[in-house]
């Protein structure tokens, strides 16, 4: 076997595309010719080195992206205290409105707890979802006068709002799993599920 043929087989070996007949030829050539064995050893080392080199570059890149992401989250948290302060009042007002609506006109679907006009954004919230806490995943809604939502959830749901993940007005959210909200009436994501993210504390 000449060197060019061996190098071709070596490439195929590294890509995992050798046929069994080619594999036999390849293995025999390595045994018969120390130069071919050296080429093989070198290629295996280079494969390892190139992999480490690229992983280190990728790790640096995603470390920067994660830092950016975390900085954006911190900025968002600093920007929201006013919203957070008014939430108890908004919730109280909504409950009063809800009670009023139930008294005057109870909904035909008993699972439909709440319908309102609001805009919804979602922000990962640190929280415990492991172990027994899995069932108590929380999503909290923030109010906005330009969108609609409803939920059939019978526990606490919290959707944290950020400026990053707006859902268009008139979207309806339906809780369909312990950490999944289904979007309804969304022009782009009809029928698709949106997983509500939860991050660890």
């Amino acid at each position: 076997m000449n060197k060019a043929t061996f190098l071709e087989l070596l490439d195929k070996h590294l890509l995992g595309t050798l046929s069994s007949a080619e594999r036999d030829l390849f293995e025999q050539a390595k045994k018969d010719n120390p130069d071919f064995q050296n080429e093989y050893d070198m290629a295996v080392n280079v494969e390892k080195g190139v992999t480490l080199y690229n992983r280190q570059n990728l790790l640096n890149e995603i470390n920067e992206i994660r830092d950016d992401y975390n900085n954006e989250q911190s900025t968002e948290k600093k920007r929201t205290p006013l919203i957070r302060r008014i939430i108890p009042y908004a919730v109280a007002a909504s409950i009063a409105l809800l009670i009023g609506l139930f008294l005057l006109n109870p909904p035909s679907d008993p699972k439909l707890l709440y319908t309102s006009t609001m805009d919804i954004r979602i922000l990962p919230k640190e929280g415990n979802i492991g172990g027994g806490a899995k069932k108590s995943r929380q999503v909290e809604f923030y109010h906005h006068p330009k969108a609609q939502y409803f939920t059939e959830d019978d526990t606490t749901i919290k959707v944290y709002l950020t400026d990053k993940t707006w859902i268009n007005p008139n979207v309806k959210l339906e809780k369909v799993g312990s950490n999944t909200l289904k979007l309804k009436n969304h022009p782009d994501k009809q029928g698709q599920s949106l997983t509500v993210p939860l991050q660890s504390e």
Binding site: L15, D68, G132, S200
Partner: protein
């Protein structure tokens, strides 16, 4: 001014990862890593463990995607959780920790392979080799990366590097290897 970025669906995320689109990676952090980081923390892991495994899972996913070895058979978040669990099981056993069975109900896809993502060179030779690769010219780095890391064949690489025919590419790759060998030997002598 509020910026509006809709969440990517799984296939948009895969495309974004392939392109190394920063927004796709941010959405992984936003939507897809929280659950497994919590699993690690709730099973004796530290924040450092959770942060490290988060990055390793993303690197693993990237490599699966670019080598064409990734098929979306489950939700992306479920797949990532399984990979993280696999990595954490290995790390936890070294720390004599046992993983609680509370996530058995999640119907995680089976990952039979043992996933190990080595980042740091394990000895001086590997370290010199990585430094030598960094010293290569851009074209050589590109060729070697596409072939050895992205597992692309010569035809695909020559389509991506239109200045090089398939035949020239083969010759160029061989030259790059020789150049690398030379740099490596020089560095080895000096270090």
């Amino acid at each position: 001014m509020i910026k509006s970025i809709a969440p990517y669906n799984d296939s948009q995320l895969i495309d974004g990862i392939k392109r190394r689109d920063a927004e796709a990676f941010k959405q992984l952090y936003r939507f897809h890593t929280g659950a497994f980081k919590a699993m690690i923390l709730n099973n004796g892991g530290t924040q450092t463990d959770a942060d490290e495994i988060e990055q390793l899972v993303i690197i693993h996913l990237y490599e699966k995607v670019i080598t064409g070895d990734f098929k979306l058979t489950a939700k992306l978040s479920t797949y990532m959780y399984s990979v993280a669990r696999n990595m954490w099981l290995k790390r936890a056993s070294k720390k004599n920790l046992t993983l609680s069975s509370d996530d058995d109900t999640l119907n995680l896809p089976e990952i039979s392979e043992e996933i190990e993502i080595q980042i740091d060179p394990k000895d001086d030779e590997e370290e010199i080799l990585v430094k030598s690769i960094a010293n290569l010219g851009d074209t050589c780095k590109q060729i070697l990366t596409k072939f050895y890391y992205e597992k692309k064949n010569m035809r695909t690489i020559s389509n991506e590097l239109p200045d090089l025919t398939e035949d020239n590419l083969r010759k160029r790759k061989y030259k790059c290897m020789q150049q690398l060998k030379k740099i490596f030997e020089q560095k080895k002598q000096h270090e």
